[in-house]
């Protein structure tokens, strides 16, 4: 399957899952809302240009926002992580030239520890910024801290489960190929 079609399908699936399953889940607690959709941005190929990355992040966020009825709330954190992504990838795998050998970030292409760090950092950044925007309108500081931590924790568990359920096969691309 071509990379483009694969990512279009992913986009639709992530939005539908987020809107119709994760946002419909009765809240376990006032602090916890599970989020998974931003994994789409983390899974985009290494080779994508930074402008396209930003644009895709914005599209993903604004689509979700129109389903949930709050334009701009999710788009802002999505654009932020799309902007930061190339920096962290360079930091994590600068020496090995992995981006030449594999198509997209995954446990196999980056190694378990760098990939976990990559996911952890972006989950945290996404939730921190999202809750910060929510918090500007209302809320106490305790609410802010609690919600960031709890939501990050739950999202990480979800991402971990997703990675185990849908193990993405990555082809090793050689130069001769």
């Amino acid at each position: 399957m071509s990379l483009l079609i694969k990512n279009i399908i992913r986009f639709v699936l992530f939005i539908l899952i987020q809107v119709y399953i994760l946002s419909q889940v009765p809240p376990l607690h006032q602090f916890i809302t599970p989020y998974l959709y931003f994994l789409f941005i983390l899974w985009l190929p290494f080779t994508i240009s930074r402008t396209a990355l930003l644009f895709l992040g914005f599209c993903l966020g604004i689509t979700l926002d129109y389903f949930l009825g709050v334009p701009g709330l999710h788009a802002a954190p999505c654009v932020l992580i799309a902007y930061l992504r190339p920096f962290l990838i360079n930091l994590l795998i600068s020496q090995e030239g992995t981006e030449l050998n594999y198509a997209e970030p995954s446990i196999k292409s980056m190694g378990f520890t760098p990939y976990s760090l990559y996911v952890l950092v972006f989950t945290f950044v996404h939730h921190f910024y999202l809750v910060l925007i929510e918090w500007m309108h209302f809320g106490t500081f305790l609410y802010f801290l609690g919600k960031v931590t709890a939501t990050t924790g739950v999202s990480l568990i979800l991402i971990f489960i997703t990675e185990m359920l849908f193990f993405r096969k990555q082809q090793f691309r050689t130069n001769t190929g």
């Binding site: 006032q30 930003l54 914005f58 926002d65 788009a75 654009v79 902007y83």
Partner: protein, 283 residues
């Protein structure tokens, strides 16, 4: 001039990032009051259509509960048919409009329209519901949304076939309400924490309140008919900073299973608004 172009080319990604961020914030801020743009309508129409598809599947699983609810509501309505009419002062009637009044000289004030909820959120801080009934079917802004067990929200946005309502579970939602027993008016809000509980404010501390008292919409509420159920008092705390109680009430509407609602139009609302907008002359 050349330097400016070099600067823009060099920092293009950063500038693009900042532009997108600013767009997001502007959207968010503009949205926090009401939607003004027609472009919200278009998005509403499209997402509404997808939601209808999803709903046809989702509804199937709730059929049994809904049938029971509908039956209970029908029975209740049959017992209460006269309650939507209001007696007007008949002493000085000049002419009688045969459509607006019935034979007893009562004038219709509230018109109830059936509608179906196609999308509804509960886990956000600003919750909305999308309802499959729009301007073509006679929905206007500011109409009330009432479920079979209690009130549910207010219409804020209308397109041709869909409308969007601000749920009671919304940070900006305020409904004029009163304690059924003592008829003391207050205001029902939501604190954004638990979708089962609302907060009733502005009830003075001298009012007798007990757990289990009913809270209903007040006689002053413009768009809701009076005496519609909102919820039941579950916890009473005294606000140390003012003369008022802060009362937690358990909603009588179950927002999790909201599906069939009524949209209620106050036929005299425009007249009332028009009268209230006129400046008082002797001030």
């Amino acid at each position: 001039m050349k330097n400016i172009f070099i600067f823009i080319r060099r920092y293009f990604n950063f500038l693009f990032f900042m532009t997108l961020q600013i767009i997001c914030i502007i959207l968010l801020v503009k949205n926090s009051d009401t939607y003004g743009a027609t472009y919200a309508n278009i998005a509403n129409e499209i997402t509404g259509r997808i939601n209808t598809q999803y709903n046809t599947v989702h509804n199937f699983f709730n059929l049994r509960e809904n049938n029971l609810q509908l039956q209970a509501e029908n029975t209740r309505l049959k017992n209460l048919l006269g309650s939507n009419f209001e007696t007007t002062d008949t002493t000085f009637i000049k002419h009688i409009d045969s459509v607006m009044t019935d034979t007893l000289g009562k004038q219709r004030k509230y018109l109830w329209l059936p509608a179906k909820v196609v999308n509804n959120t509960i886990s956000q801080q600003y919750n909305y519901m999308t309802i499959h009934r729009g301007s073509n079917q006679g929905v206007k802004k500011d109409m009330a949304v009432i479920s079979s067990t209690g009130i549910a929200g207010t219409i804020i946005d209308v397109s041709e076939n869909y409308c969007r309502a601000m749920s009671l579970l919304h940070r900006n939602s305020k409904v004029s309400s009163m304690l059924k027993k003592s008829q003391i008016p207050g205001s029902v809000e939501w604190d954004g924490k638990d979708p089962y509980y609302l907060t009733l404010r502005k009830i003075p501390k001298s009012t007798p309140v007990a757990k289990g008292d009913s809270v209903v919409t007040s006689n002053y509420s413009a768009n809701f008919p009076p005496n519609m159920m909102i919820g039941i008092v579950s916890e009473i705390t005294k606000d140390p900073g003012s003369n008022d109680f802060i009362i937690q009430i358990k909603t009588s509407t179950n927002f999790y299973t909201l599906e069939y609602v009524n949209i209620v139009e106050n036929l005299q609302l425009e007249e009332q608004r028009r009268l209230e907008a006129v400046k008082v002359k002797n001030e």
